[in-house]
């Protein structure tokens, strides 16, 4: 299922990039930090179609990265969605870890932890809350149509995902089919969320056993 492959990969990449950045923002204190936080929070509202256009302009054959030949591939869709949801992961994880850091700051200082170690410790301790952060990113990625339709092109059997198929059926006037596909997509999202929830419950139980 291409929808899941693209959006889960994008979520994984966004977490890989976003969680350390979020933790670093939670730990670090520097000039302009507040302005940066406002900026990151604002970027959560990035319009998907604008991200799509920016990625299109870079990956287009006449763009700077055109030689890679990535436009209209699943990779281009993953790149666009990663850019779209990384700010969400950074901003939300920063908030979660900021609160956690307030509790632990004293302890970190007494243990003489370096900034890198503190970042790692925070992410590890906040891992259950951060799962929800990941899910928020995944939800945004799997539901958006604006970015993937521009960089993917909605090519049958190649880059057509659930949301672009829904847009296509809507434009054909086949509203029942469009709605049916929507239900399938929501079921998939539900399944992913249930799996993550199950994982969390099992992990917590194991941790306390």
């Amino acid at each position: 299922m291409l929808s899941l492959r693209v959006s889960l990969t994008a979520t994984a990449l966004a977490c890989l990039i976003g969680l350390p950045l979020g933790a670093l923002l939670a730990v670090a204190r520097f000039r302009g930090r507040n302005a940066l936080l406002v900026l990151v929070n604002a970027l959560m509202g990035l319009p998907p179609v604008v991200v799509g256009l920016l990625v299109y302009l870079h990956l287009s054959r006449s763009g700077p990265l055109g030689f890679l030949g990535l436009l209209y591939t699943p990779t281009a869709m993953i790149v666009a969605q990663t850019i779209l949801i990384t700010p969400i992961v950074v901003a939300l994880s920063r908030q979660v870890l900021d609160d956690l850091h307030a509790e632990y700051a004293e302890q970190f200082r007494s243990l003489c932890l370096g900034r890198g170690q503190a970042v790692f410790a925070l992410i590890w301790d906040g891992r259950y809350s951060l799962m929800t952060v990941g899910l928020a990113g995944f939800g945004r990625a799997v539901a958006e149509v604006g970015a993937v339709i521009v960089v993917g092109g909605n090519i049958d059997h190649l880059t057509r995902v659930m949301t672009t198929a829904i847009a296509l059926e809507t434009s054909k006037g086949d509203l029942p089919l469009a709605l049916g596909l929507g239900l399938i997509l929501m079921t998939l999202a539900l399944a992913v969320n249930a799996m993550v929830h199950g994982l969390r419950v099992t992990a917590v139980r194991y941790a306390h056993a």
Binding site: P20, G63, G66, Y72, T73, V79, L175
Partner: protein
């Protein structure tokens, strides 16, 4: 910095996996939406792929956007329906040569109640003039597509400037044909559409064709190979094979065979 490098390395790795997908030759067609939404490609492409062993991927957007994408070299073949723009595309050196491929016609659709009373009129411009005088809602694509260009030409012939009523009775959706038809049905507005999209459109409600048959409503499709001299990424051999096949007796008869609800939607005319 390290992170950025790692990110791009990962992207590149994924890209290599992505491009390893397509075995054998494949080409990308930048296309208008009507040929895709009506199901023509689903009928046409398997036939070509079987005969020539070349896979064809289609990006279906409005004619205006398809041409823009092709100008950026993002495609091997252009299949659209706005002759002036196509001729300009070739004249600018972006295309090798333009060929007539097939035609059908535009129709004016609207609610059965027909508040402007245009049903059965033979003259499309007169019908539009009447809609404007009655100030009844008209849904326009408003997106520089082929259908939108044709509509604007009809308004100009009719001596009406609909843009003066933009937001009042003249409503530009700025979206594709299907989306515009959905909107028109939703607000009981007249609309100009190509017949192929209309016949295969499933959400007609109480809408029907009100004006058809005017020779000014002919809708000509053209096909162009993107110039490999301007765009080195173009697979000229495979792209040319596709164009040649479309224009051949074989391709033309496959186009003529295509039916929706027993109705022929595209009339090949490459060999006229």
């Amino acid at each position: 910095m390290k992170r950025a490098v790692a990110f791009w390395a990962l992207t590149l790795a994924l890209g290599t996996i992505g491009s390893a997908y397509g075995q054998g030759a494949s080409i990308l067609v930048q296309s208008t939406t009507s040929t895709a939404n009506s199901g023509l490609y689903d009928h046409l492409l398997p036939e070509f792929e079987r005969e020539e062993g070349i896979r064809v991927d289609v990006v279906a957007v409005g004619t205006g956007q398809a041409i823009r994408n092709a100008r950026n070299c993002d495609g091997d073949v252009l299949l659209v329906h706005a002759k002036d723009q196509e001729v300009a595309f070739v004249a600018d050196g972006m295309g090798v040569e333009r060929f007539d491929l097939m035609y059908n016609d535009f129709v004016l659709v609207g609610p059965v109640s027909d508040p402007a009373g245009i049903s059965g009129m033979a003259d499309a411009q007169e019908a539009l003039k009447r809609v404007a005088e009655a100030e009844k809602p008209f849904a326009s694509r408003g997106d520089a597509s082929g259908t939108h260009s044709a509509e604007m030409a009809l308004w100009a012939d009719a001596g009406v400037n609909p843009m003066a009523a933009s937001g009042a009775w003249y409503r530009e959706t700025g979206s594709g044909m299907g989306a515009t038809l959905n909107t028109a049905v939703g607000m009981e507005a007249y609309a100009l559409t190509d017949r192929a999209t209309w016949v295969s459109f499933a959400n007609k409600a109480d809408f029907e064709i009100l004006v058809e048959g005017d020779e000014d409503l002919v809708n000509q499709y053209g096909v162009i190979l993107v110039n490999p001299r301007r765009c080195p990424s173009v697979d000229a051999a495979a792209g040319q094979a596709f164009v040649d096949w479309l224009l051949s007796e074989d391709g033309q008869s496959v186009i003529a065979e295509f039916r929706v609800d027993g109705q022929q939607l595209f009339f090949p005319n490459a060999q006229d």
